[in-house]
């Protein structure tokens, strides 16, 4: 799982770019499961699933599309893009894919943690 040190974040958005690249093979920041929310000149906020114990998104989903197995898993066949999970997330760590309407939730790149590897300042870290 991820842990964040937002005071180290420089807003370079490399995490967003590598996330979109890894999951969709697309060079964009807009399909990322992690999001840097800038509020210049203040320190930015990093919004991403932190894998909380309560799994409130799973409980909130009215369609049973979300389950927990190592990370939050989405069954796209059950999901209708209602975004209830987005509102349920206590850390605002779920984003909607503008292209498909499905929620984007961190899957740790199935253990590869690409954002952690690419972050130049260790603002995004792996929680041991």
């Amino acid at each position: 799982m991820l842990k964040l040190k937002r005071s180290l974040c420089t807003e370079c958005e490399i995490c967003m770019a590598i996330c979109s690249w890894t999951h969709f093979g697309e060079n964009t920041t807009k399909r990322a499961r992690i999001k840097i929310e800038a509020d210049w000149p203040k320190t930015p906020v990093i919004r991403v699933c932190l894998a909380c114990k309560d799994h409130e998104c799973v409980a909130a989903c009215p369609h049973g599309a979300l389950t927990w197995e190592n990370w939050i898993q989405l069954d796209q066949d059950q999901c209708d893009g209602c975004a209830v999970c987005v509102d349920a997330c206590p850390v605002q760590g779920i984003h909607l894919d503008k292209r498909t309407g499905f929620p984007l939730i961190c899957d740790t790149c199935e253990g590869q943690y690409r954002c952690v590897q690419w972050c130049p300042t260790k603002a995004v870290q792996k929680k041991e």
């Binding site: 005071s7 180290l8 420089t10 807003e11 370079c12 958005e13 490399i14 770019a17 590598i18 979109s20 690249w21 969709f24 093979g25 697309e26 060079n27 964009t28 920041t29 807009k30 399909r31 929310e37 800038a38 210049w40 000149p41 320190t43 503008k98 292209r99 690419w118 130049p120 300042t121």
Partner: protein, 607 residues
């Protein structure tokens, strides 16, 4: 329709006079021969700008252009260019900026925006993916850039990226820049051009993807380049810690850091204004899109007279222009000054030069304090802050000061000797009496007094191997020419010049090829040729606008006043031999006109 990689293949053409917006396709020849950014700008301006057009008239064209690497994962590739005819020099102007606007424009699906004509009333351009429109901006007119950014984001959405002008650009100050995501396209008066067109701002949001031709090759080169940047002592060390101020003490030590409007080469206040002191003001690190160097900083003044002031910076040039150049030792004032320049939309280098120039005018008795309206003397921090407010608002004599040093000196008898500009653009923070490379770089820079067309001081002072003698003339013409072509190409690519401290041409070439898939970018020679082609076409543009050899020179002070202190004591600039050599190396004749053979070699058709 052609499938594009790296490029979006689409251009947004905006005519403000008729309010007609149209989408056009990118010409493949443009991508092959001129790559992007500055290259796109010069080809369009050379072909389409009416010769001798008045820069602040509806005839002028303002091009916002990205490069093929802009917005990609290639490191430090968040850059875009604004190209136009400069109202400060009457010649070519391109200004480069990082931040997030360039990548967002690509994500929205455009390689560039061409702005023509003049709106009847203040407008802003809003681009949301493939939807675009002009909207009234009367409510934003008269507003500073920081409020303008916030207001636009509050109205349209916080993920919109903005480029806008402040009051200085609206008022036609020739030292006004464009501010984008709190960073500046400062130099040469692009802000005044935007203001003359009644265009307050451009806001863009995009959700698209930039297709990559060879994803595996691209990722391999990315990893290598990110490693190079992390392991380089500058990009992975000093620049991360200190930002661009990393070289402050060194420049002072070698006597190149100009003091008192270039009267001296050694700063008595260097112990109070240096990278270690400035670093104490840094609150956090800040980067542009996709950049692991994070040379930008957020700085805040915690105590003293300027308590509460903050800025993104202050960066090296402004620490000099409001510091040593005005003999000011209050770092708080420097931070406030840089903030105010961003706030009003002013260029910090030119503003600091204007103030240093006014200080010297008063010191020499050419201006009286009553001409100024408040105390104006070297070392007085309040002189600096007051002057910026006056210039920014265009208040009283501030309106005249905003026209820059060249125009000011024409109105003040005897001031010509110490008007520190080249071709009408004020000089940056290196004294050419201590660096023959910088002397030639300034004299031959296509936009006037600039350190970013070539930066020979790097090879003269900082290179780990093959370091050159600072004041020798040997090989300086070749060095400046080669760097100008490299930097020219980088400013076409979308990558940042700072990345080239660690990432060399042998890595940039595979980037360009993997991203675009264009055959022409499989060879480093061809890639460098783009830089040379661009510089030669800019030269032709400048000659058409009236550039002659006698303007390829420096302020008289550097020829007639030897430095009195520091390691370069007694030195003046000798330029004639260097200029002859430079023209020869360039394949230009003795008047600085590109020869037919050179143009043929570069495939330039000079109509």
């Amino acid at each position: 329709m052609k499938t594009w990689y790296g490029y979006t293949g689409r251009i947004l053409d905006v005519d403000l006079t008729s309010a007609i917006l149209s989408e056009t396709e990118l010409d493949p020849c443009l991508a092959n021969d001129y790559m992007g950014g500055k290259g796109f700008g010069v080809k369009i301006l050379y072909d389409q700008l009416p010769p001798q057009c008045e820069p602040l008239s509806a005839d002028n064209i303002l091009v916002f252009a990205t490069g093929p690497l802009t917005g990609t994962l290639a490191p430090s590739s968040g850059r875009f260019e604004v190209c136009t005819k400069s109202p400060a020099t009457g010649l070519w102007l391109d200004s480069n900026c990082g931040g997030y606007f360039g990548p967002e424009l690509k994500f929205a699906g455009y390689d560039m925006i061409i702005v023509r004509g003049k709106a009847k009333a203040p407008l802003m351009l809003v681009i949301d993916d493939d939807k675009f429109e002009l909207r009234p901006a009367a409510d934003l007119w008269g507003t500073d850039t920081i409020t303008t950014h916030r207001q636009i984001k509050a109205t349209f959405g916080k993920d919109f990226k903005v480029a806008c002008i402040g009051q200085a650009g609206e008022n036609g100050a020739l030292i006004a820049g464009i501010i984008s995501e709190y960073r500046a396209l400062g130099r040469g008066g692009a802000g005044a051009v935007m203001g003359s067109k009644n265009l307050k701002a451009i806001a863009v949001r995009g959700s698209g993807n930039i297709p990559i031709f060879n994803p595996d090759g691209f990722m391999k080169t990315c990893r290598e380049a990110f490693n190079e940047l992390a392991n380089n002592p500058d990009t992975g060390g000093g620049r991360q810690k200190y930002g661009t101020n990393v070289i402050l003490s060194l420049m002072d030590e070698v006597g190149i850091h100009p003091v008192r409007n270039f009267q001296k080469g050694k700063f008595a206040g260097a112990d109070r204004v240096n990278e270690d002191v400035v670093e104490e003001y840094y609150v956090r690190n800040k980067a542009c899109f996709g950049c692991p160097i994070y040379c930008s900083k957020i700085a805040e003044v915690k105590e003293g007279k300027y308590k509460g002031s903050f800025t993104e910076g202050p960066e090296y040039e402004n620490v000099w222009s409001f510091g040593a150049n005005c003999e000011n030792v209050d770092v708080g004032a420097i931070i406030q000054a840089e903030y105010l320049c961003d706030y009003y939309g002013l260029d910090g280098i030119s503003a600091g030069n204007v103030i240093g120039f006014l200080m010297e005018c008063v010191e020499k008795g050419l201006l009286k304090e009553s001409d100024i309206g408040f105390p104006m003397s070297f070392g007085n921090d309040e002189s600096i802050i007051n002057a910026i407010h006056h210039i920014g608002k265009g208040e009283g004599p501030g309106k005249r000061w905003g026209q820059g040093v060249k125009k000011l000196a024409q109105q003040i008898e005897g001031a010509h000797e110490f008007a520190m500009h080249v071709k009408g653009l004020e000089l940056p923070a290196y004294d050419p009496r201590g660096s023959t490379g910088m002397a030639l770089a300034y004299a031959t820079s296509d936009r006037g007094g600039c350190h970013l067309r070539s930066w020979p001081i790097g090879d003269e002072l900082l290179a780990t191997e093959g370091r050159m003698d600072l004041v020798s003339l040997e090989f300086k013409a070749e060095l400046v020419k080669t760097q100008q072509d490299l930097f020219g190409m980088i400013n076409c690519s979308g990558m940042c010049l700072f990345a080239t401290f660690a990432v060399n041409l042998k890595q940039i070439t595979p980037f360009l090829h993997a991203v675009t898939g264009l055959d022409v970018y499989s060879s480093s020679e061809e890639v460098m040729k783009v830089g040379e082609r661009v510089n030669n076409l800019v030269r032709l543009f400048n000659i058409r606008e009236g550039l002659t050899r006698d303007l390829d020179t420096l302020p008289n002070r550097f020829f007639s006043e030897p430095l009195e202190d520091g390691p370069n004591r007694g030195r003046v600039v000798r330029l004639d031999q260097l200029m002859d050599e430079y023209y020869m190396v360039r394949g230009w004749d003795e008047d600085g006109v590109p020869g037919e053979e050179k143009l043929k070699e570069l495939g330039i058709d000079a109509k």
